[in-house]
């Protein structure tokens, strides 16, 4: 089912230029999402995940953010050359974003229903009464009683606020939904509820989704495809099964090993050693080499090329070539 | 209202760190340089100009001279050199304002700190007392006290410091309350440090940032108030070369000799400007999140 992708990002390079130096947030990001597909973007904090999401909306704060290179096509339209007006008509309507922290993502001095109704008023030729009616419908849809619509955000719990944020993002019935760590700020029990709801709604409207997360559990639950991002670049990409069952990149491997194994609790966690590199001073060659257990001499000198296992699954790692990648990882997995 | 939250330093060398941040801020450095020049001028003035001979001695034959090579800022209605009087005037402005601020800081700071630290009744009494002071619009209070007590430097200092006490009490109280319950204070309490020790060694140092900023800006306010009071004839009486009273004495000669009024005004303005630049810079340097 290879048809026209809803989102295509090619070689996106974004820098934040501050007084303290240049932070390389994205270093040639490639990503594409088909209609209705859910794509997981997985990585640690500071890997450039949120920048990627904002880049699609053309909302990277400038200054200090500068898009140095790359192309973004949203439903066929070139975002990079789109005017402010064109972007405004796409935001909230063709593409919308659920932000990480529901506590700070809502305007504290505006009622919840007014904030949602704005989406309709901005994108549809609609009367105020109708937009309010639609707002109440979508509130009910995300599980909030319509009569609570005239309350203010501070009267809602965290989980409820996130439902409001989700309602707002879904109001325009977008073709692409960017969800930036939508459940991280929530309690575990609420997380499951919200995630379940998102999944249902997405299926109902056949919305494509970019799920930005650091949580492999969420990825396993909702994603069709997965990209693992490290220091602003995708190091491994493939279908869900490729990533989970045919893991190739040492970093992806490390992410899995950092998770506790509930079946065998005597097994020790093997967290990835070291910390994310300073993005204003990235290591040469493969940026992961200082933390990699399989580091070779070449890794610090040459950027690893992309090696494909099949049409969908690739890694960027010097451990692999066309031959050995098919056979299975040189990395032994417990 | 700009919230000034105390920055809690964990790393060593916070003073160096703050200074480095301050040094990056060009306007703050400009303010610092001007303030430094003023202080030097105030200290050096008696060695450059003879008080009796140059500053207050009347010289009628030389009166109302426009600015020239001999009299950079001209001469006033009594023939005195305005430049010399302005330079000498910095002594009064700085001495009075520094003293008044120091007193206000000590008393207001003490009241605010113990109120904030102990809370309860004591805090309540102190703050209700401060409410009464704060209910009277700022400088109006200083005007009343200064006017009632009569104009000399000591009374002026009393008036200015009393009207500045509530501000300092408030600032210290709120920053003490924010740090009071922070973990390291609880830790200090847990190892048996007594209250006085905790206040002196832990609470006060961590409340310093807002206090330093407020102090700098308060000096500016007080210098403005001194000039205002003297302008009304309630501050420092002639013939002392106080900027506000110099400015006031030029009022009669506004037409034709507006420089008599203009130059002392510039002196006040530049001083206040410098203190504000420095204060803003300090705030940014002490609390980078506010930038």
């Amino acid at each position: 089912m290879e048809n026209k992708p809803i989102l295509e990002i090619k070689n996106l390079v974004v820098e934040y230029r501050t007084d303290d130096g240049i932070v390389q947030a994205l270093n040639g990001l490639d990503l594409s999402i088909q209609p209705g597909e859910t794509h997981g973007l997985v990585g640690e904090t500071g890997a450039g995940k949120t920048t990627a999401g904002l880049g699609i909306l053309k909302l990277i704060p400038d200054p200090p953010g500068v898009v140095v290179d790359g192309e973004i096509y949203l439903d066929g339209k070139n975002v990079m050359v789109a005017s402010d007006k064109e972007m405004e008509s796409m935001r909230g309507y063709d593409v919308s974003m659920i932000f990480q922290d529901p506590m700070t993502s809502l305007n504290p001095v505006m009622t919840v229903e007014d904030q949602i109704a704005e989406v309709y008023e901005l994108h549809e030729d609609i009367s105020q009464a109708d937009s309010l009616k639609k707002t109440h419908e979508i509130l009910e849809l995300v599980g909030i009683p319509a009569e609570r619509g005239n309350e203010y955000p501070h009267q809602f719990s965290g989980g409820m606020k996130q439902r409001v944020v989700i309602a707002m993002a879904l109001a325009g019935n977008p073709k692409l939904l960017i969800a930036d760590e939508p459940t991280t700020a929530l309690d575990v029990t609420i997380q499951a509820q919200v995630l379940g709801m998102m999944k249902d709604l997405k299926d109902k409207y056949n919305t494509a989704m970019l799920m930005i997360t650091h949580d492999l559990g969420i990825v396993a639950e909702v994603c069709d495809k997965v990209s693992v991002i490290y220091a602003g670049r995708i190091v491994e990409q493939g279908n869900l099964v490729d990533i989970f069952d045919n893991t190739r990149h040492p970093y992806t491997e490390g992410l899995f090993n950092s998770l506790p194994n509930l079946a065998d609790r005597t097994q020790k966690l093997k967290p990835i050693k070291g910390l994310m590199p300073d993005p204003s001073n990235l290591p040469t060659g493969c940026p992961f080499h200082p933390r990699c257990d399989y580091v070779m001499e070449i890794c610090s000198k040459v950027k690893p090329p992309r090696v494909y296992r099949d049409g969908a699954h690739y890694v960027e790692c010097h451990l692999y070539n066309e031959e050995n990648i098919k056979k299975g990882g040189v990395i032994e997995r417990d | 209202m700009e919230k000034i939250k105390p920055k809690i330093y964990k790393k060593k060398g916070p003073i160096v760190e703050v200074f480095l941040r301050l040094a990056k801020n060009k306007t703050a450095i400009l303010g610092l340089i001007i303030v430094a020049i003023l202080i030097i001028a105030a200290l050096a003035a008696p060695f450059i100009f003879d008080y009796d001979d140059v500053i207050i001695k009347q010289n009628i034959s030389n009166r109302l001279q426009s600015p020239s090579k001999d009299n950079w800022f001209g001469t006033d209605d009594l023939g005195r050199d305005i430049f010399a009087r302005i330079v000498y005037g910095s002594r009064i402005s700085l001495r009075v304002s520094f003293t008044a601020v120091a007193i206000a800081l000590l008393i207001g700071g003490f009241l605010g700190a113990i109120g904030g630290y102990y809370g309860g009744m004591l805090d309540n009494i102190i703050m209700r007392f401060m409410d009464v002071f704060l209910a009277i619009p700022g400088t109006l209070f200083a005007i009343t006290i200064a006017a009632a007590l009569g104009n000399n430097i000591r009374n002026l200092i009393i008036a200015l410091s009393i009207s500045s006490i509530p501000g300092f009490a408030r600032i210290l109280r709120s920053s003490v309350i924010t740090v009071r319950d922070v973990e390291f204070i609880e830790a200090a309490r847990a190892i048996g440090a007594n209250d006085a020790r905790i206040i002196l060694n832990h609470v006060i140092p961590n409340s310093l940032a807002p206090v330093i900023v407020h102090t700098t800006l308060n000096v500016a306010t007080i210098i403005l108030t001194i000039a205002g009071l003297s302008f009304l004839g309630l501050g420092i009486a002639p013939p002392a070369p106080e900027w506000g009273s110099m400015l006031s004495s030029g009022r009669t000669y506004l037409i034709g000799h507006s420089y008599i009024t203009a130059f002392p005004g510039f002196a006040i303005m530049i001083t206040i400007l410098a203190l504000n630049l420095l204060g803003d810079g300090l705030r940014d340097a002490l609390d980078p999140r506010l930038k």
Partner: protein
């Protein structure tokens, strides 16, 4: 909400008694016998003594204060030592001038400052931003009375556009209003800019933009209401400063307002009038502060929730 307002007004009563007691005490320790000041240097000791008894100045300070306070409770502010008129009459006659002056200064300050602050923040680090913040910095540094004098020289004496004294027409309040309001304008503009800058960086601004709202609308509909909260605080404080500043401005422009009255009365040791003026300023300031708090509740539902 009404309960809150009532509570605040009731709390004002003890504060006002505190204020009057404070001023009473200050005036009583002050050197200079009112009777002597009123009668002049040549008065005989007998005449002075007689006036002292007449004015009740021979009683202990606290007795004098109690007498004043009971009068105040009945709405009586006493008689002026000098003119023998009721203090209330003297003050009421001068309120319009001071009110017009402070109102025009407030209007000038707010109407200029808020747009200036917003534009400076939105156009951060541009020439406009730099220029307007430089003007604001000058504004907080210029002494009111000096600015007043310079405006007088330029616009009234050189150009003859405005009268130099008196309160005859609205024109008389333009220069004093600018002189008095400039300082507040500067403070309000600075706080508006900095709170606007703070708000623009908030997540909910990004949310609003992600809905597809044009940036202009995001600024006016989402950023401004949030940024106004600190602006309102500073404006309230500035109105207090304006009242104090009116003393200086009325002196410079020879306006017959309460500010002039208080200075003359202090110099003449006319204690009841001084107390009356301070009382009026304090009530005015307190009412402004109450209005500010109510305005908060209007713009910020979180604060409103605390009041009910």
């Amino acid at each position: 909400m009404w309960k809150y307002i009532l509570k605040r007004l009731l709390y004002l009563i003890p504060v006002l008694f505190g204020v009057t007691l404070l001023v009473f005490l200050i005036m009583s320790v002050a050197p200079g016998d009112p009777a002597k000041v009123i009668l002049g240097e040549q008065a005989t000791p007998e005449a002075i003594e007689q006036l002292r008894v007449e004015l009740g100045l021979d009683d202990p300070v606290l007795v004098q204060y109690m007498r004043y306070a009971t009068g105040l409770l009945k709405g009586d502010m006493g008689m002026s030592y000098k003119s023998k008129d009721p203090v209330a009459v003297e003050i009421v006659a001068r309120i319009p001038t001071t009110l017009k002056l402070t109102l025009s200064a407030t209007l000038i300050a707010v109407l200029v400052a808020i747009p200036l602050g917003i534009f400076a923040a939105v156009k951060q680090n541009t020439l406009f931003d730099g220029l307007s913040m430089f003007i604001a910095l000058l504004g907080i540094s210029i002494p009111i009375f000096w600015l007043g004098l310079m405006l007088l020289v330029l616009f009234s004496q050189r150009l003859g556009w405005f009268p130099s004294s008196g309160a005859a027409s609205w024109k008389s309040f333009i220069l004093p209003g600018v002189a008095l309001g400039f300082h507040s304008m500067a403070s309000i503009a600075r706080i508006t800019r900095s709170s606007m800058l703070e708000v623009i960086r908030q997540d909910y601004i990004r949310t609003a933009r992600s809905k597809g709202m044009p940036y202009r609308d995001v600024i006016t509909k989402h950023a401004l209401p949030n940024a106004l909260i600190p602006t309102i605080t500073v404006t309230g404080l500035q109105i207090g400063a304006l009242m104090a500043g009116s003393v200086l401005t009325e002196t410079v422009f020879s306006l017959p307002g309460i500010g002039r009255l208080i200075i003359n009365s202090i110099q003449g040791r006319d204690i009841p009038v001084v107390l009356g003026c301070i009382l009026v300023f304090t009530i005015g300031f307190s009412v402004v502060n109450l209005l500010v708090d109510l305005l908060y509740a209007y713009v910020d539902p979180r604060i409103k929730a605390q009041y009910t």
